[in-house]
Structures are given as structure tokens and as C-alpha cells.
Subunit: 164 residues, 4 copies
């Protein structure tokens, strides 16, 4: 076999191991009270992918009236975490071990769009990538890029909210 | 000179280049509306060091009722940013280029304490380190550690609030 | 405009600002003596993209006879750096500010393939992403993923090797 | 309890869990063939701390005749990895999950000194910090700073070299 320029790699498809993956992710998001505080919306979740939107509000800004870097982090860390959680087996919880975020453009616009996607799903560790876009006058601008390490906490299911 | 075990390095003292460094940092923090939203307090600022506290509130939590990782990031990114900003010359602004955060323990407790410190202050780039502790039953637990890159935006002073 | 699930973002094409971009990158690579030491090959360079290969050698390994993580870093940091350098204006040099590397699989195989690509090319800062694959029995395995920050050193051209 | 300025945190002492920690680390380092290739020396190892030195050689350089960033990474990633390995239980191996490296000054000098230290030693994950100094004309310059995540591979001891 001869290896030359322009190597192409075909990633494997993402298979959920928990048939309840969608309810599990949506239920967990609904229990994150900080998402209600800032007004974030879980717009889409698929196996190994999650998209969260955040409409602009003046009380989410830093000194220049842009989205604060910590708020950008809050939505993209969650998008990456839920992308990974969607692939984890039933009866397990997700832990964020660490992440690294590059800010590419000011968080200026009417809306943040955060997309998390799984890069590698191992038995214990799950690596994700996150992208954040701002929408300004209907145009999308690449605002931040993230690389994140998650850990599967086997045998530690998330506490559910029980009503009644 | 002979180099053996246990190398010791003496860092240089941090000298502010703007006589108004303290007012500048405190004024900028006061203009970050997200700090008011979450209830963060600028407890201490020195040349090259900044400490921000955040009392627990249920609306700052993730699904297990701990401080959300994004909120941990919000306070420590700001502590690191202001540690760097305190050393920048007059008439310049601070930009967070990127950071990396390791979460060491759950964000569980009555209070977060975020401390940012400058590691290297160059003409354009400033590197900081941040530590976050939670206080639980009066005991301090190391919760997160951060490494951050800032950029000095020369000739772009922060907009001041003018009260006339 | 309505923002719903599955946001798509169209990145801008990469335009070199130095007509000599290819000679510049190839000349610089040839002057990196460590590339000769380890046997790395610059296989492909395009505006905003660079691919470096490294055949296996026993003296590049860690304790389990896999490629050492530092060697994986050496090739991917260079691939990212040259991806960025290819877009920089004439008369400037490239500086690696920082990078973060996740190791996804053991560096086990006959060859490492490192690909660097520019994510965002700003006036001073250039952000890249790098992927490393190992080739084992003719199959490609995703081995590492990197996120990197470069700085353009304006007015500081790389020193050329002058013969005679 | 009242929390005011200048929070101080007392880290816990590092206790090795394997009585053979020193032989284990020194044996593993000796089996890393890349250390022989570049000429690195394991100068000091203690529970939770490791120091590796690397004398300058022209074949370890990038285009400006400084130590290549990948070589800086090679020594500091190993220093951090062995700092963590020294605390791991008998019968386990160390895996580098990821790390982030900031380059603070050019790798210019007669020698690199890399020091790895454990920040947090958990059951599975171990977080370390690494510092690299160059020694130039007998003066030590802070060259790079690293943050690293390791994983303990329980029940997977490193393969020993058997002689006879």
C-alpha cells in the first residue's frame, strides 16, 4: 500500500447503547437550572451530536456588551457533554474531565449556536469537539472552537426528578 | 554551574504599567453584567493577581445540583483575565485568546473561590493560571485548574461608563 | 430568518498572501533538523493545509514500543504550524503560542500521518486543528487530535540558509 | 467562617501506593528508546514529582536553531507522566489522555529542564502540571508550562525487560 498526499479517513458511525438516549439527554438538560437562568434551548440531539441555542440578553454580557466568554463556554461545554452522554450506556452518568476553548471572534450577535460532536467514543473516555457560531444580521460567524474530554461514570445513573 | 535535582526558579515580580490599574480592573468588572446576573464578587485585585468569589445559588447548577462547569469557567476566566489586565498599559484592552480547564472535583459547596495569577507577561501575550476552590462546611477543596492565553489590544481602551 | 436544527456553516476559502508560500514552507521544513533526526517527510502542502508522514522506527518509541506521545506531538505541531505559515504574508515568521493534544489511540503502527489545517486566519493569530492517524496493516486509525494557536511575527522573516 | 482576600489552600502530601515506585519509574524511563535517541536524563524522581534534563544538540532544533516545540513537549510530557506514575498502585500502567502546552519563551539555551508535578491524584485520573526552563549562560528562563491528564490503567502492569 502506498501512502501519498491528501490522506482521507472514514470515521465510524455513532451507535447509541441506551435505547432511551433521547429522553435521557432531554431530561438531564431540563434539570440543569443554569440553562433556565440564561435562557438556553436544546434545539437538536442525535446520537453523538447536540445543538444548543442561546438568544442574546444584555445580562449575559461582558464589558463590551458581547456574550461573556464564560457563557460561550457554558453552552458549548453542555453541547459537547450531551453529545457524549447520548452514546453512553444506560445506568451511567457523564463527567466533564477537561476542555480547551479557543475564542475566534467576539461573541457579538443576536444568538449563539453551540454544536457538540463526538470524535472518539471509548469505553471510559469520550472525546468531543464543539463549535460556536454567533448569528449577526442573519449571517453566521465562527466564534469559538472547543476540544473536550468526558468520562463515563458506569453504574452511576443520573438522579431523575420524580413527581408525585 | 552544575545542574542537579530539584531545580528552583525565581519568578520576577509583577509591575503594573498603568498607575490606574486598580480602578481600571474594578470599573471593568462592574460593567460585566453577567457578574451581576450570577452574583459574583471581585474580592481582591493586585498586580498580576485577581480573586473572585461566587456564593452558591440553586439557579447556577447542573443536573446534580452542583455549580455548572460553565459557571466555574465564567468566574475563573474572569479572574485570569483581570490578573492579566492589571498589568497591561493604559489605553489597552484585554482579549481572551483561549484557555484550558481541568475539573478536579465536583462544584459542590457554599461558595466558589477563583484565583487568577499571571505566569508570564509579554508585550502582546499574557499567560495566566487559575485555580478554583469550593468551600464546603468551612473546608476548601481544589475544584478546577486553568491555563489561559490573553492578548493585549494596544490602543483600544475599554469603553468607560460616562455618567455626566 | 429562522434558526432550527442542524446549523450549517460555510467556511471561507484560504488565500495565501505570499506568492512564495510553497517554497517558504518547504525551505523552513528542510531547516528543521529534528525532522531529519526522526525521519519525518513533508508529503503535501497547500494553502492552509499541511501533511507530514513519519515511518515507524524503534528508537521513536515509549516503554510499550509505540510511537512516543512527544513524537506524535512533534509531527502534528509542525503540520499545524506549516498550515498556518502557508497563509502568512511575506517577511513574517510563525510562532507556536500553545496547543492542546488529545491522544485517542496508542501510537501503534507502521506510520504516523499528521494533518494540520487552519480553522481561522486572523491578522496576528492563526488557529489550527491537527489530526494524527496511525497506519496499521494498511488500516488507518485516528490516533490524536490537536487544537493550536499560532502568532504571525510581522517583519521577522525566517533566516534563510545562505550557501557561499 | 468569613472568606476574604488572599485565599490560601493547603494541598495534601503525596503518598506513593507502590513501595517499588522508584524502581518502577526508573525502569520505565530506561525502556523509552526515544529518551536515548534525544539524550534525555532522568535527574530526579520523588512521589508526585519528576525532573528530566536535556542537553542541547543541533539535531533537536527547529528552523531558528532553538529546541523544537515537539522536543520540549517530549520531555515535559514524560516528566508529568512519571510524576503521576510514581503515585499509581502496583500492577498498573499510565496512559496520557491529553495535555496542553503554552510556549513562553524560545527554547534557546544549553539545556532544557522539565519538571512534572501531580496536582490531583484520583483513583482513575491524575492531573499534573509541568514547567520547562532553558538554561542560557547559567541563567534559568521559564520556557513552557503544561497541564496534563493521565489515566491509571488498573491491572495492566508495564511489560518488564527480562534478561536471561
Amino acid at each position: 500500500m502506498h501512502w501519498t498526499a491528501q490522506h482521507k479517513h472514514s470515521p465510524q458511525p455513532m451507535e447509541p447503547r441506551d435505547p432511551q438516549w433521547q429522553e435521557k439527554v432531554r431530561g438531564s438538560f431540563a434539570r440543569q437550572k443554569v440553562m433556565t437562568l440564561i435562557g438556553a434551548e436544546l434545539v437538536d440531539v442525535r446520537p453523538g451530536r447536540c445543538e444548543i441555542h442561546l438568544p442574546f440578553r444584555a445580562d449575559l454580557t461582558q464589558q463590551n456588551e458581547y456574550f461573556h466568554a464564560g457563557i460561550v463556554a457554558t453552552v458549548v461545554v453542555s453541547a459537547g457533554g450531551y453529545a457524549g452522554f447520548s452514546l453512553m450506556p444506560a445506568g451511567s452518568d457523564v463527567l466533564t474531565v477537561e476542555y480547551k476553548l479557543n475564542l475566534l471572534a467576539p461573541g457579538e450577535g443576536e444568538r449563539l449556536i453551540a454544536i457538540g460532536e463526538v470524535v472518539k467514543s471509548g469505553r471510559n473516555l469520550v472525546i468531543t469537539r464543539g463549535e460556536v457560531y454567533t448569528v449577526k444580521n442573519g449571517r453566521s460567524i465562527h466564534c469559538a472552537t472547543m476540544q473536550q474530554t468526558l468520562m463515563t461514570m458506569h453504574g452511576k445513573p443520573q438522579v431523575q426528578e420524580h413527581k408525585s
